[in-house]
């Protein structure tokens, strides 16, 4: 690990000032991703700004019926929160399916959203990676890419975003609250992460001086009937090959509302708008679920090792929606 200056921020303004003035500053919250990457010499901060003691760790009810989740709320607490469990079960399930108990005790909501890809070439300093070293190429294309993305990829990068939590949040229309010395703004979570295009090193819509301070969930009755499904190589402690966050309401055999997102398939938690449009108003049958999933995956590009993910995603969508029609989704 390279030497760096450590700054423990006593308040939000100090943290904002540090990241606004120092280009090499990185924010430290739970440290579950940043510290690993510093050890691997992928992250090389000149200053580490420790924000873990800032008062951003509350879960609050919003006047309109939603929840405001502070960026420093630990994953464990989020998953266990009674309001999350009863009104947004998909979120609780998604968080609990990620990492280990120890990691969830440390990891924060903001850190989870901003965690970096687990593409092995990103962490391997000797390999080509446009995300780590722009212009060096993509070793995953033509290399090992079994875990890589199938949606929204480019010829420059096929990395995935590894979060489970973010997949549930994006399905729930979450909005991210961001602060800088210039003020506060709100970004729909669906727009927080950007697709690689020809600048895979640009991963989010955040400016370098911005700090995620909270995530807001709107009141969303359909979310009470929601589920998270995750397909992975072992029963625990593994990233998703494919995951699905879904919420759906059915009346008289017809889908009246649907929220659907996919994980493990793209550089961002993938909100499946095309599938949602196909679902709403259609009969709640497996055939229609499959048609909706196929519509979403029509633009998917599989490569020799990861093409299986496309059919795996389709099957997982169908199974999750089928489960919601047969047993509802209350946690």
């Amino acid at each position: 690990m390279r030497p760096f200056t450590y700054l423990s921020a006593p308040d939000v303004t100090t943290a904002l000032r540090a990241i606004a003035t120092e280009p090499g500053a990185r924010l430290l919250a739970g440290g579950t991703n940043l510290v690993d990457l510093m050890r691997q010499d992928v992250e090389r901060p000149t200053t580490v700004v420790d924000i873990s003691t800032l008062p951003l760790d509350e879960v609050q009810e919003l006047p309109a019926g939603g929840l405001r989740i502070g960026a420093l709320v630990r994953n464990s607490r989020l998953a266990a929160h009674p309001a999350v469990r009863s009104r947004y079960p998909v979120l609780s399930q998604a968080v609990l399916s990620g990492a280990s108990g120890q990691l969830r005790n440390m990891a924060t909501v903001g850190g989870n959203l901003l965690q970096r890809t687990r593409c092995p070439y990103f962490a391997d300093g000797t390999a080509a990676c446009n995300k780590r070293d722009p212009g060096s190429g993509c070793a995953a294309i033509g290399g090992f890419h079994r875990g890589s993305a199938v949606l929204g990829t480019s010829e420059h990068c096929i990395a995935t975003h590894p979060s489970d939590m973010a997949v549930a949040l994006v399905a729930l229309d979450a909005v991210v609250e961001v602060q800088s010395l210039r003020g506060t703004r709100r970004i729909p979570l669906a727009e927080l992460h950007v697709l690689p295009g020809d600048t895979p090193d640009v991963e989010t819509a955040l400016d370098p001086d911005e700090l995620v301070t909270a995530v807001e969930l709107p009141a969303l009755p359909v979310a009470a009937s929601s589920r998270y499904r995750k397909v992975r190589d072992r029963a625990s402690f593994a990233f998703a090959l494919v995951s699905v966050a879904a919420a759906m309401e059915v009346a008289d055999g017809t889908v009246t509302a649907a929220r659907l997102a996919l994980g493990g398939v793209a550089a961002r938690p993938w909100r499946a708008h095309l599938a949602e449009r196909a679902l709403v108003g259609a009969p709640a049958t497996e055939e229609d679920f499959r048609r909706a999933a196929t519509a979403e995956l029509a633009t998917a590009v599989g490569r020799p090792q990861n093409a299986f993910k496309i059919e795996l995603a389709r099957r997982t969508v169908v199974a999750t929606l089928h489960q919601l029609t047969t047993e509802g989704g209350a946690a």
């Binding site: 092995p120 391997d124 589920r227 995750k230 072992r234 099957r315 199974a319 489960q323």
Partner: protein, 789 residues
């Protein structure tokens, strides 16, 4: 040290209690400490004035080194030494069987991660930063990454029609070593060279590269001695073979290179080769200060050999009644950049590669190749793991072709006492292969998978990831049998040394057992105590720290230590007992033919003698050192592979029950059942532990464990990306331990550790095949192999 640690000697001495004799469940002295996080591993070694050593490794799998500039590293404040191969005073290459691996890179690097230079500094981060400043100019070459291509071997689809014709290898690939790319070619030939059979099945199989995944990374502390020598405290499997290689590199006699075993966090073969041993000694001798080296997890993946990946082609011929007529097999093992123990692994894979079955006509070619992939060598099961996946898949395929029950086909062809092996050796101790299988069949099966409201997600494929709730789940049951040689084979002079002392301390009789046999977590120290208690009739047995102050014990591998070091301890105890009883006879002063040692006394039931050892020994200690050998074995005939090459065989069998989510390709292993003949269970609790651990490691290879290597580069050197089974993946087990004594072995015992690692994975594969109907020619099996997507 930040974490308090204790050595086993400092732990509450509840070991085995007053029982603790052979056949009793004996509690391990290290068990509680490890569970509490108090055990002192090699990575906990510490001296206040020590330096930290780090290794600069090649980023390239194959390259010529044009130049190395260590100047910038030496200029870093806090750096005490920067060393390259020029600083190795003795032999610059080392190796277990063949000295072909540079201590530090010479002119060519042959694998990614090959050590190039060393740095010692006052802080590990200082050393790492300095190492990063060493400038190495590489001329990067195209790596050789396919074992068959390295040997110039045609691909099988070219030779399907005439497999037997392929015997001569052309060598068109780049030569990685002066003697070419072939490490060893073992031929096994028996019976009719042109056999014909009613029914023939052919299959090609592939096994990926497995890692030992031990939890304690390579670590040690080298301390310069006042005599100009060095003391090395290190986690290893065989102190004396390390010592031999270190002496050679340092150009020092053995008395100047003294090794002591430090706390070992798992080994499984991965500590047979040197890692940081010579490096730490070089740095300590150059700086005159103690030097600690401890790899991190990523470096550990590059710091030890792995299990050989294998490609195999098998052809089985049988009569319509199901009697095996012949087996032809070609086995290719990728040995990676250096020989390590590849020659012996080839020997095992070739001689054990047909399984525990009687085969009258045999034609096997087993090859070990050099490539620019990571070096491969010893890992639990040692060549038998790879071949078991192939021969057991073949037995199932043959059973299907014959319309026979797969267990019946196995029993019909099973080896037994008196059978002749494919290498012409007569099995001269019990070989209850059929009984192991029939006992498995007789065990109750777990309940059928739940459906509807009864579903507990934890018991479903995918577990709590909330995938299937029962839909699309199909159950399968599979069987497999392991066949493994115990101890070193092919004429190796395989021995162990034990020094046993009996004395009276503070009025209590105490035995001290001193061997160099490495305790790697298998429970050997308990076995040594149990044998000494049994043979000397005392309760207090001190196990001396493991070091090179006593003769070699051989390696803690090949399931051999309980047999060989156990045999040595038993023999040394018998020698001590003989001398003590001799003295006692003198004291008794009358004929007393049936004297024995019991409860710290010399007793005779017939004569009514009960003489406290204090009266017999006084202040004297009776000490004996014994070098003990098992029956000699012989080299294999170079043309036919026939000969008395193995001293003992281990047999275990597994039944696996799996549920497969056929929609998503997820596997839940519902239950593993195992039967194993251990001859005599010295510590039954530890035997069960070995069976459980070996089963988990086999299950891991079957469904998840693989080091992914592409173009000679390791893609997943972390426990985030190299997956091993968790407690949620490993099911409950049913275990039956059989004890058919081997008349040639001490107490009739049979080596335990490896066999269950061999039969576990193939049983899981057989069960998945039964559930899905898929051929599954490659392990590990992943979701995409099961969904047809």
């Amino acid at each position: 040290m930040s974490t308090p640690t204790r050595t086993p000697a400092g732990a509450p001495s509840s070991v085995g209690g007053p029982g603790g004799r052979i056949g009793d469940d004996a509690q391990r002295p290290d068990g509680v400490l490890k569970v509490r996080g108090e055990f002192a591993y090699a990575s906990d070694l510490w001296m206040d004035d020590m330096l930290w050593g780090v290794t600069l490794r090649s980023p390239h799998p194959y390259a010529r080194i044009r130049s190395v500039d260590v100047g910038p590293a030496l200029a870093v404040p806090g750096v005490h030494a920067v060393l390259t191969s020029d600083d190795v005073p003795g032999e610059k290459v080392y190796g277990l069987e063949l000295a072909d691996q540079p201590v530090l890179a010479l002119d060519v690097v042959r694998y990614q991660g090959e050590p190039v230079a060393l740095v010692a500094a006052d802080h590990p981060d200082t050393a790492r930063r300095a190492a990063a400043r060493i400038v190495v100019d590489y001329d990067v070459w195209e790596p050789v990454t396919d074992a068959r291509a390295a040997l110039g071997h045609p691909t099988w689809n070219q030779v399907h029609d005439a497999p037997a014709a392929v015997t001569e290898l052309s060598r068109e690939s780049a030569h990685l070593h002066p003697h070419g790319n072939l490490v060893r070619h073992l031929k096994v030939r028996k019976g009719d060279p042109e056999p014909t059979a009613d029914v023939v099945v052919v299959g090609e199989y592939e096994v990926g590269m497995q890692d030992q995944a031990f939890l304690g990374p390579e670590s040690g502390l080298a301390v310069p001695g006042e005599d100009g020598g060095v003391d090395l405290y290190v986690a290893t499997q065989w102190l004396h073979v390390d010592q031999r290689q270190i002496c050679s590199a340092l150009a020092m006699p053995p008395e100047k290179v003294r090794l002591t075993l430090a706390g070992v966090g798992g080994a499984f073969g991965g500590r047979e080769d040197l890692s940081m041993h010579v490096h730490a000694c070089l740095l300590a001798l150059h700086t005159g200060k103690p030097v600690k080296m401890s790899y991190n997890r990523e470096e550990s993946f590059f710091g030890h050999v792995h299990r050989h990946p294998a490609t195999m082609r098998y052809e089985h011929g049988a009569t319509r009644d199901g009697d095996l007529v012949y087996v032809k097999a070609e086995i290719f093992l990728d040995g990676g950049a250096y020989a390590s123990s590849t020659p012996a692994v080839v020997g095992n894979a070739g001689t054990m590669g047909l399984g525990p079955y009687v085969v009258p006509n045999v034609h096997v070619d087993c090859y070990g190749a050099y490539t620019n992939n990571p070096p491969c060598g010893a890992m639990r099961g040692f060549g038998s793991v790879q071949t078991a996946f192939a021969y057991e898949a073949q037995m199932d395929a043959l059973a299907a072709e014959l319309g026979m029950d797969p267990v019946e086909l196995r029993c019909r062809n099973a080896m037994e006492l008196g059978s002749e092996t494919p290498t012409g050796q007569v099995v001269d101790s019990p070989a209850p292969v059929a009984e192991l299988l029939r006992r498995l069949v007789a065990m109750p099966l777990p309940p059928e998978p739940a459906t509807g409201d009864d579903v507990d997600l934890r018991h479903m494929p995918g577990g709590v990831s909330n995938t299937t709730h029962g839909e699309g789940v199909r159950r399968g049951v599979g069987y497999a049998v392991a066949y493994k040689n115990v101890a070193f084979s092919e004429g190796f002079d395989d021995y162990s040394t034990a020094r046993v002392r009996l004395e009276v301390v503070g009025g209590e009789a105490v035995a001290t057992v001193h061997t160099a046999a490495a305790e790697v977590g298998q429970g050997l120290v308990t076995v040594e105590q149990q044998i000494a208690r049994t043979e000397l009739g005392v309760d207090a047995v001190v196990v001396h720290p493991k070091d090179t102050a006593v003769g070699s014990a051989g390696s803690s591998s090949a399931s051999r230590q309980t047999y060989v070091t156990g045999g040595a301890v038993k023999a040394a105890c018998e020698a001590v007992r003989g001398r003590v009883l001799e003295r006692a006879r003198g004291l008794v002063g009358r004929p007393a033919g049936d004297l024995r040692l019991d409860g710290g006394k010399v007793v005779s039931d017939l004569e009514g003698v009960a003489l406290p050892l204090a009266d017999v020994l006084g202040d004297d200690a009776v000490e004996e050192t014994v070098e003990w050998r098992h029956r000699p074995t012989q080299a294999l005939d170079p043309d036919t592979g026939q000969g008395f090459a193995h001293v003992q065989y281990a047999f275990s069998a597994h039944r696996a029950v799996v549920d497969v989510d056929t929609e998503l390709g997820l596997v839940k292993v519902v239950e593993m059942a195992c039967t194993q003949d251990v001859g005599k269970a010295i510590n039954p609790q530890a035997v069960v532990g070995q069976i459980q651990g070996g089963t988990a490691q086999g299950l891991g290879l079957a469904v998840m464990e693989e080091i992914l290597v592409r173009d000679g580069r390791v893609q997943n050197p972390s426990f985030t990306d190299y997956l091993i089974p968790t407690v949620l993946d490993m099911p409950p087990m049913r275990i039956e331990v059989l004890e058919y004594a081997d008349p040639h072995a001490p107490y009739g015992l049979r080596g335990v550790g490896e066999a269950p690692n061999i039969s576990s994975g193939p049983a899981v594969l057989a069960a998945i095949r039964q559930a899905t109907g898929l051929p599954l020619r490659r392990v590990p099996v992943r979701p995409e192999h099961l969904t047809g997507t």
